[in-house]
Amino acid sequence: MKLLEYQAKEFFFRAGIPVPREKLVLSPKEALSAAGELGLPCVLKAQVGVGGRGKAGGVKLAKTEGEVKAHAGNIIGMDIKGEKVERLLCSEAVDIAEEYYTSITNDRANRALVLMVSPAGGVDIEQVASETPERILKLQIDPLMGLQAYQQRRAGAFLSEAKDVRKQIAAIIGKLYWMYVCNDLSLAEINPLVVTGEGKVIALDAKVIVDDNAMFRHPDFADYRILSEDEAVEHEAKGKGLSYIKLSGKVGCIVNGAGLAMATMDLIKRYGGEPANFLDVGGSSSPEKMLSAIDYVTSDKNVRSIFVNIFGGITRCDDIARGLLAATKDNPLPVPVVVRLTGTNEDEARELLEGTSFIPATDMADGAKKAIEAAGDG
C-alpha cells in the first residue's frame, strides 16, 4: 500500500524525522488560511499516488495570497496521469542549500534490506543509477544486526563534508530504519533530503509503501488507504481473491495464475488483439469466484469478448465450467466467451459446456485467436 506524501510525512513526524511545517487542504479557501498560518512564501503540492506531479504542474511556489488562491484553484481538480487531484499539501517554503536522496527498501536479489543514499537528490534516482552509479552508495542491512551505527555514519559521510550535517543525516537514517522496521514497510524514501541555508537537514518529500503482506499486523493502517477509481476496483477484487487490473483493449481475459494471465495477454497482442484486462482467479477457484471474475470483466464497457484460459492444477476444470454455467443461467452473457480448459477434470468440464453458447478452444493460441475474432478486434 503506497501512502500519499502527507500520510508518509505523518509517519516521518512520529518517527522524529524533521519535516517542513505543513497542512493538508482540500480547497483554495483552506489553502489561504493554511498559508496564513505557515507564512508566505509557501509551496502547494498535489497529493497524488502517481509520480511526476512536478512536471505535470502539480507543485507550485506561491509568494502572495493571490498566488496561493490561484495555484490551489488550478491544482485541485487537475488530472495527473489519470489521477484527479483532491488534496493539496500546503508547506512552508524551505531555503535549500543541498539536496540528497535517501531510501531504504527491500533488495529482492540479495534478500536483504538496502540503504541507498546519493548526493544527487531531487532527481530520478534510476537515472542517477544508470548514468552516474558512483554517486550512489548502497549498504546492505543484515537481518540479524539491523542497520549499524557505522553504516549511518558512512552514509552521512558519503553525502556531506560538514560534520554537523553528517551527524544529522546519520540520525535521520537511524530513525528512517526504525520507522521502516516497526511499520513493516517495503519502501521508505526521502527525495529530496535537504540541507537548509541554516544547515538544518529536513525531509522535503516523503514516499512510504507498506508491505501488503504485513497489513494484518497493522489493522489501523487501513485508514490510510486512499484509492483512485481504478485502484478501488482492483482493491475490491483482491478482497474477493481476484487479481484484476483494467487495461484499454477489447478482449477480456479470465485466467488462473499470474504468469499464465500475462502470457495470455501477450498472446492476444501477438495475434493482433488488445487485452482488456489482467485477471488472475488464483488457485482453488470456486464457482463464486468465476462469477465475480465475469462480473469484473463485463463491467468494462470496452470489452467485446472474453477468453477464459484455465490450466487445471489445483483449480479443477469442472469447477470453472460450473461457475461459467451458473453465471449464464439467469441472464445470457453480453459478449461471446471463448473457453479453454485443460488439466484436472478437463473431460468432465468439456461435457458440462457442450451444447452451451460458450465457444470451445483447443489450446491457448486457438483461444486467443477465436476471442480476437469474436471481439472484432485486430
Binding site: R108, R111, E126, R217, M262, G312, G313, I314
Partner: protein, 288 residues
C-alpha cells in the same frame, strides 16, 4: 540424481488437516511420493486418510524419519512453520502458502541459509522430479521422465509450457516453481547452479516474467557457467508500467524490469526466447 527431490524424499505435510493440505497429501501420494504424515498443532495423534498427524515437526521427524516438508498453513503462521521444519532437521522445505511478510522472510531466508536447509517458495507450486517424487501442487500427469530441467517464477504458466515440452516427446529431469512472493528461498541462480551439477539435466527451460533483474542474472549465469543449452519464455510483454501483475515481484518499476529488457538480455546471451508458449518445444528440440 536429480535436483531437490528424489526417490529418498520423505515428506511431511504441515497443515495436513486443512482442505488444501489433505488434498495435496493424497495427490502427492498418488503420484508416488512417500508422504510420511503431517503436522497440525493440537491435532496430534489423529489419522487423516491414513496419514499420521503430529503436534510438532520435531516429533514428526523423530517418528517418521522424514527429510522434507511442504507447507499449507495460513500465511500468518507460515514463517513459523518454515523455521519449525528447519529446526526439526529437514533438508528441504517447500512453502506453498503465499503472502508472507517481507520482514519475516528476510529473517527466515538468512536463518535457513545458516542452517543449511533449502527452501522453495513461498507462493510456489513446488518441485517435481518425474517418476521419482513430487512435493507441492503441480499436476503430476503432465510431466514425464527425461532430461530437461525447468525453472519458473510461475505456476500454471509452467504447466502450460511443460505440457508442450512433454507433448513434443521431451521429458523433464526436475521442474521447480520458485514462487512469486517478494522474498523467496531459492531463486533462478540457486536452481540453475543445481541444474549445472545435475547429471540428469541436459537442457534447461527458464520461465521468467516482468519485474526485478533475476532473468538478466540468470542469462549471465547460463552463458558463463551453466554449460548446458537453455531456452526461455518471458511473460508480461503487454504488462503496463507500475502495476503489480499478481505476483509481488511482477512489476515494472520506472523503466526497469520490462519484458523487452529480459528478452534482450537472454537473446544477447545466446538463449532463444519463445514468442509464445507453444514455441518452447521447437526451440528446445533445436538445442538437444
Amino acid at each position: 540424481m536429480s535436483v531437490f527431490v528424489d526417490k529418498d524424499t520423505r515428506v511431511l505435510v504441515q497443515g495436513i488437516t486443512g482442505r488444501d493440505g489433505l488434498f495435496h497429501a493424497l495427490s502427492m501420494k498418488e503420484y508416488g511420493t512417500e508422504v510420511a504424515g503431517g503436522v497440525t498443532p493440537g491435532k496430534g495423534g489423529q489419522k487423516v486418510e491414513g496419514f499420521p498427524v503430529f503436534d510438532s515437526m520435531e516429533e514428526a521427524v523423530r517418528k517418521t524419519g522424514a527429510n522434507t516438508s511442504v507447507i499449507f498453513v495460513p500465511e500468518r503462521f507460515a514463517s513459523d512453520a518454515i523455521v519449525e521444519a528447519a529446526d526439526a532437521g529437514v533438508g528441504l522445505v517447500v512453502c506453498i502458502t503465499e503472502g508472507l511478510p517481507v520482514k519475516d522472510m528476510l529473517q527466515v531466508v538468512s536463518y535457513l541459509e545458516r542452517k543449511g536447509t533449502k527452501l522453495i517458495g513461498p507462493n510456489c507450486p513446488g518441485v517435481i522430479s518425474p517418476g521419482k517424487s513430487k512435493v507441492g501442487i503441480l499436476p503430476g500427469h503432465i510431466f514425464r521422465e527425461g532430461n530437461v530441467g525447468v525453472v519458473s517464477r510461475s505456476g500454471t504458466l509452467t504447466y502450460e509450457l511443460v505440457s508442450h515440452v512433454t507433448n513434443a516427446g521431451l521429458g523433464q529431469s526436475t521442474c521447480v516453481g520458485i514462487g512469486g512472493d517478494p522474498i523467496i528461498g531459492s531463486n533462478f541462480l540457486d536452481v540453475l547452479k543445481m541444474f549445472a551439477e545435475d547429471a540428469e539435466t541436459e537442457a534447461v527451460v527458464l520461465v521468467g516474467e516482468i519485474g526485478g533483474s533475476d532473468e538478466e542474472e540468470a542469462a549471465r549465469f547460463i552463458k558463463d557457467e551453466l554449460g548446458k543449452p537453455a531456452v526461455a519464455f518471458i511473460a508480461g510483454r503487454t504488462a503496463p508500467k507500475g502495476k503489480r501483475m499478481g505476483h509481488a515481484g511482477a512489476i515494472i518499476s520506472g523503466s526497469s524490469g520490462t519484458a523487452e529488457d529480459k528478452v534482450a538480455a537472454l537473446s544477447a546471451a545466446g538463449i532463444p526466447v519463445a514468442a509464445e508458449p507453444a514455441e518452447i518445444a521447437g526451440l528446445l528440440k533445436e538445442k538437444v
